[in-house]
Structures are given as structure tokens and as C-alpha cells.
């Protein structure tokens, strides 16, 4: 414990000993997280003085945040972009490509119609199609972030994935409403 080095300037990847990339080994990530957390677990704070205890807790919080960010694909992509100086501006960037937005409208209409018709198989069909689309986007994102390092285009793909995440939620709500 005393040899613990609290370097708060480390980024999430450095902190967990991972190479900064979109494609990561989730098992290795979880192992690294568990290893560090076991060293700074609050149960081990009892014998420490106030300063050491506070530092340990801050460290534990930071490690936790790093882990939570890196384990989620979209959060990991957003963080990688941030490290490379690209922000998504999700709140204010509304200028998606018109073709993409038109597609989103069509998706929403199709989900709405299937829900109104209480058509479970149609909703499941939409769900499967969406899953395939998301997978294709994630493959593209891996290439853009890890190989091409085209961060501008990658940011656009992440923004599009945010809309697709919303579609997934909408399909799930619809399925719950129809089946429940």
C-alpha cells in the first residue's frame, strides 16, 4: 500500500495499463481493474492517516471512472477522440447528414407502425437489422480509430451510433409494450 504511486495525471488507458485503442481486450481490462481496486479497497484504509485515506479514495474513484469509461464501446470511443483533441459536441452538433437523418425518420416510423400493429415479428426483424447495422458501424469505427486515425470521420460515426442506440431503446420499449 505504501508503495502505491498515486499519479493523478495518468489517463484512463495508462492508469489501467492498456494500449490506447478502440479495440481492447476486455478480459485484460477487467483483470487490471480488479488488481488495482484490490490494492485500494476502502477496507484497507483503516490503518492509514487522513491524507493517505483521502488520496486512496480519490485514486479508487479515478480507477473506477477509468474502468467504466473504457468498458463501454461508445464511451471508450468518445474518450479516445477526446485524448486526440476531438470532441463530439453531442448537445450542439445537430448537422448530421440529411440522408442519415432521413433514414432515422424511416426507422422511427417503422418502429412506430410495428408497435401500433402489435407486430412482434416485425419488431424482432427490425431489431436484427439494427444489430447488423451497429456491428458494421463498429467495424468501421475500429478501422477509423485504430488504423486510419481519421478522428473527424470517427466522431461522425460515433454520433451516428448514438442515434442507433436510441433506436435500440425504442425497439425494446415497443417490444415490452407489445409483449407485456
Amino acid at each position: 500500500m505504501h508503495s502505491m504511486n498515486f499519479d493523478f495525471s495518468k489517463n484512463h488507458f495508462e492508469l489501467l495499463g492498456m494500449t490506447p485503442a478502440y479495440r481492447i481486450d476486455l478480459t485484460k481490462l477487467e483483470q487490471a481493474y480488479r488488481d488495482i481496486q484490490s490494492q485500494v479497497h476502502p477496507d484497507k484504509f483503516a490503518h492509514l492517516n487522513d491524507v493517505e485515506r483521502r488520496l486512496s479514495m480519490q485514486w479508487s474513484t479515478q480507477v473506477n471512472e477509468a474502468y467504466q469509461t473504457l468498458r463501454q464501446p461508445l464511451d471508450r470511443a468518445r474518450y479516445l477522440l477526446h485524448l486526440n483533441g476531438f470532441e463530439l459536441h453531442e448537445e450542439t452538433n445537430t448537422a448530421m447528414s440529411p440522408a442519415f437523418l432521413m433514414q432515422q425518420m424511416e426507422w422511427r416510423e417503422a418502429i412506430g407502425e410495428a408497435r401500433a400493429a402489435r407486430d412482434v415479428s416485425d419488431l424482432e426483424h427490425l431489431s436484427g437489422k439494427l444489430r447488423a447495422d451497429v456491428l458494421a458501424q463498429q467495424t468501421q469505427l475500429t478501422a477509423l480509430l485504430d488504423n486510419d486515425r481519421n478522428f473527424e470521420k470517427a466522431a461522425e460515426v460515433v454520433r451516428e451510433l448514438k442515434f442507433m442506440e436510441k433506436l435500440r431503446e425504442e425497439i425494446n420499449y415497443a417490444l415490452e409494450a407489445v409483449e407485456g
Binding site: E91, A95, M96, F100, M102, Q104, M105, K162, F163, E169
Partner: protein, 136 residues
């Protein structure tokens, strides 16, 4: 989270929901989307010969605040010239609807939808304006 009475009013009785035929004379469309919440908004304006917006319609897939914001701006743009419509700011929308900070992006979406619709109109009619000017 609780919605303001004005948001609820627009949400329960949205004004001007629908679609114009995109090919109709004077019709222009603005499509925008907010990655933060996955909301999509389509705002259409119908502009008369004098350059005044005489009608507007919207279709929004999103939360109550997004629907209320778009419903409100369809009312606000009617009777305005294109340039006047461009002066509508998201802060005015947010204030009118008493949107909480987490829903400000809904008003940003509505402001940007107006801008996108006006830009679409200008892109479509740019040539015609120039042609008319050349005649004089």
C-alpha cells in the same frame, strides 16, 4: 422530471404536425438531429412569393421538450420573412417553454431546424433570385 405547463400543452396538442409535399412551390425542409438524445426533427416551411413564411409543419421523434420546441417554432415562424425567422434563438424557445438545463439541447435542435429549412429554401431558390435580379 416534471414538464412545464407550456411544454405539456404543446406536447398534448402539438400545432402543425405533418408534412408538405417537398416538391410543392415554396416548400423547404430542414432536418436536424441531436446525438445527445437521438432525437430527430423535420421542419418544413412554405414560403410565398413575397418571401414570407405562410405555413410551417413539423415531424419530431423525441421527448416532450423536443416536440414542444418544434411545435412552438412552427407557430413563431409563420408570418415572418426568412431573415426574421433566422433571428429566433434557442434561448427564447427555452425561456418560453421554461426548459430545464438538461433539455436546452431540444431548443438548440429547433433553432437549427429553422436555419436548416431556410438554408434549404435558399439553396433551392438561389438561382431563381439571381435570375429575377438579372431581368431588372
Amino acid at each position: 422530471m416534471s414538464y412545464s405547463t407550456k411544454v405539456l400543452d404543446h406536447y398534448e396538442n402539438p400545432r402543425n404536425v405533418g408534412t408538405f409535399n417537398q416538391d410543392d412551390e415554396g416548400v423547404a425542409t430542414g432536418m436536424v438531429g441531436a446525438p445527445a438524445c437521438g432525437d430527430v426533427m423535420k421542419l418544413q416551411i412554405k414560403v410565398n412569393k413575397d418571401g414570407v413564411i405562410e405555413d410551417a409543419k413539423f415531424k419530431t421523434y423525441g421527448c416532450g421538450s423536443a416536440i414542444a420546441s418544434s411545435s412552438l417554432v412552427t407557430e413563431w415562424v409563420k408570418g415572418k420573412t426568412l431573415d426574421e425567422a433566422l433571428t429566433i434563438k434557442n434561448t427564447q424557445i427555452a425561456e418560453e417553454l421554461a426548459l430545464p438545463p438538461v433539455k436546452i439541447h431540444c431548443s438548440v435542435l429547433a433553432e437549427d431546424a429553422i436555419k436548416a429549412a431556410v438554408a434549404d429554401y435558399k439553396a433551392k431558390h438561389g438561382e431563381m433570385v439571381v435570375a429575377a435580379a438579372c431581368k431588372g
